[in-house]
Each structure stands twice: as C-alpha cells, then as structure tokens.
C-alpha cells in the first residue's frame, strides 16, 4: 500500500507536479532503510539532494562599510578658507606717504636699489660674450664652404 503511493508520487514527481510536501515524503522514504529493490536507483538521487542541502558557506561576509569620500566637502573647505582669508586680510597700514616730495624720494631710492641689483645680475651674464667670441672663430668654417663650392660647381 505504501509502495503503491510511493510509485504514484514518483510518477507525479517526474511530471513536475508534486508539491513540496509530497517531495518531502519521497525524500523521507528514499533516505530510510526500507526502499523497495526495484526503486533502488532513486536512492542516490535523494541522498545527493540531502547532502547538497547541508553544504554551508563558511567564509565571513565582508561588510567593510567603506566611507565614500565626498568631494563636496572640498568645496566647502575651499570656501571657508577663502572667507577666512578675506576676513583676516583687511587692509591695514602699509606705510602710505602723504607728502609727494618724500614719496618721490622714497620711490627713486627703491628704484635705484632695484637697478643696482639688476646690474649686479647682468654683469655676471657678460661672460656670455665669450660664447660670441667662440662662434666668431667658427666663421672660418665658411672658408670650407667656399672650397666645397669650388669643388662642386653649382649646376646652373
């Protein structure tokens, strides 16, 4: 009687019409010890299903809640710095001179200092003349050109 119902269930099972409960009945039957000899071949199938069910994922699940860097904070910081700069950089006494004559003197003094330093700089550059001298000796090379011109008569 039990066997009969199992066979019917198997038929339904193969058609894909069994419910989960009925499949559970089949699984229980075929994993028990009392399987009818002519249904023996189903045993490994259900055994495999049971074994596969027990496989577990043992590795840890990596949940690095990485904080995505938000670029909008850069602009916020930039604006803040700009504001601070403007706030602290209000014009203070920079040494304004009211008397034009004194001012003129001051300016000419500082300009003179600049030109002084400038001259110092350019004087060291004067060594560059040496290079010019060197190139002038190279002028002799034109002589070679003259001779080659003689050898290879320019074709007209």
């Amino acid at each position: 009687m039990v066997l009969n119902s199992i066979e019917k269930l198997l038929e339904k099972y193969e058609m894909g019409e069994t419910s989960l409960k009925e499949e559970q009945v089949l699984k229980n039957y075929f994993t028990s010890d009392s399987v009818a000899p002519h249904l023996e071949m189903y045993k490994p199938m259900f055994a495999y299903f049971l074994v596969s069910q027990q496989e577990e994922f043992t590795k840890a699940i990596p949940l690095k809640s990485k904080r995505i860097f938000d670029y909008k904070w850069i602009s916020v910081a930039a604006v803040a710095i700009l504001m601070l700069g403007i706030y602290f950089n209000n014009p203070r006494d920079v040494g304004t001179i009211n008397d034009p004559e004194v001012a003129f003197n001051e300016v000419s003094k500082s300009l003179a200092m600049i030109s002084n330093h400038m001259n110092k700089g350019t004087s060291t550059v004067s060594y560059l003349d040496e290079v010019n001298k060197g190139t002038s000796t190279l002028e002799y090379l034109t002589e070679i050109e003259n001779t080659t011109r003689i050898i290879f008569k320019p074709n007209k």
């Binding site: 193969e14 019409e17 071949m41 490994p44 069910q53 577990e56 994922f57 699940i61």
Partner: protein, 169 residues
C-alpha cells in the same frame, strides 16, 4: 540599516546563495568569491533593500546573473572553469560525496544537464522553493519551470537507471 540588521536578513539564505553559485561555477573557491560579491553588492545597496519585494529571491536572481557573467568573462579569457583547475581545499563534503560513489554519479549527471535545468533542480529539489518563487528568480513562467524540471528529473532517473542496471556510467 546597521550591520546586524543586514546580517539578520542575509544570514538565512547565504548558504543557498553559495550553493547556487557552486552549482553554476562548480569550484568552491569561485562560489565563495561570488557569494561574497553578492553579499557586498546587497550591503552597498542596503538603502534599497526595503523596496525589494523578496530579498531572498532577488539575491538568488542576482547570484545567477553574477555567476553567468563570471562564466562569460572567464570564457572570453580562454580560461575554462573546470573542476580540475581549482583544487578543492575543503575536502570534507567533497570526500563524503565521493565516498558514496553512486551519489557522486548524481552530481555528475546534474552537472551535465543544461544550465536552465541544472538551476531548476538546484532550486527545487535541493533548496525546496515554490514554483512561483523559482519562476520569479529565473524570470520564467511557472509552466516552463515545470517542463524543465520534469525533463531534468527524467534525465536523472534514466541515467541512474542505466547505471543501476548495467553499470554504465
């Protein structure tokens, strides 16, 4: 959503995700990587989790798609995922299965099934999902699921009967 809340949602089906990934990718290591990847994707989109109708079904679909993508990219690299390429370090279960030779035949038979049927066998006979859940996960209709399942079961039974009767593998 805190990590604990997330884990409470994810823990019940993480093994199913892993087994599905392994069914497709075969190698345990690859399946582990895939599972981690899927979990990470879920975690990164945790804000949307409440919107999903069925997180579990959604994850299974995601796993399936991810694994197929993985397979495709491996194929384009001319790197085939075959069992021999990746040595299985976790011998416990594999050994257990192989000890029982006839059970390992079933594994081989299932491995040889077409992708779709393989998935359906995995989802129905091993994970015991409802037909409508499977249909949802695989984006098929129920009838198609049943037809494929029936074919797969018949193939397995036929091959097992042959092996049983004549000892042909």
């Amino acid at each position: 959503m805190t990590q604990r809340e997330f884990l409470n949602i994810v823990m019940p089906f993480k093994d199913k995700v892993f087994r599905l990934a392994k069914r497709i990718l075969i190698s345990t290591e690859e399946a582990e990587d895939a599972t981690q990847e899927v979990m990470l994707k879920l975690w990164n989109n945790k804000a949307k989790i409440a919107e999903y109708r069925n997180v579990e079904a959604f994850s299974m679909t995601m796993t399936k798609n991810y694994c197929f993508d993985k397979l495709k990219s491996k194929q384009s690299q001319n790197l085939k995922i075959v069992h021999s390429n990746y040595e299985d370090k976790h011998t416990t279960l594999q050994r257990q299965v192989e000890l029982n030779d006839s059970v390992s035949w079933v594994a081989k038979i299932i491995e040889e099934l077409p992708e779709q049927q393989k998935l359906i066998i995995q989802l129905r006979d091993i994970e015991e999902y409802d037909y409508d859940e499977i249909a949802d996960m695989l984006n098929m209709n129920q009838t198609a699921v049943r037809v494929n399942l029936s074919r797969a079961r018949k193939t397995i039974r036929e091959k097992l009967t042959n092996t049983h009767n004549y000892g042909i593998k």
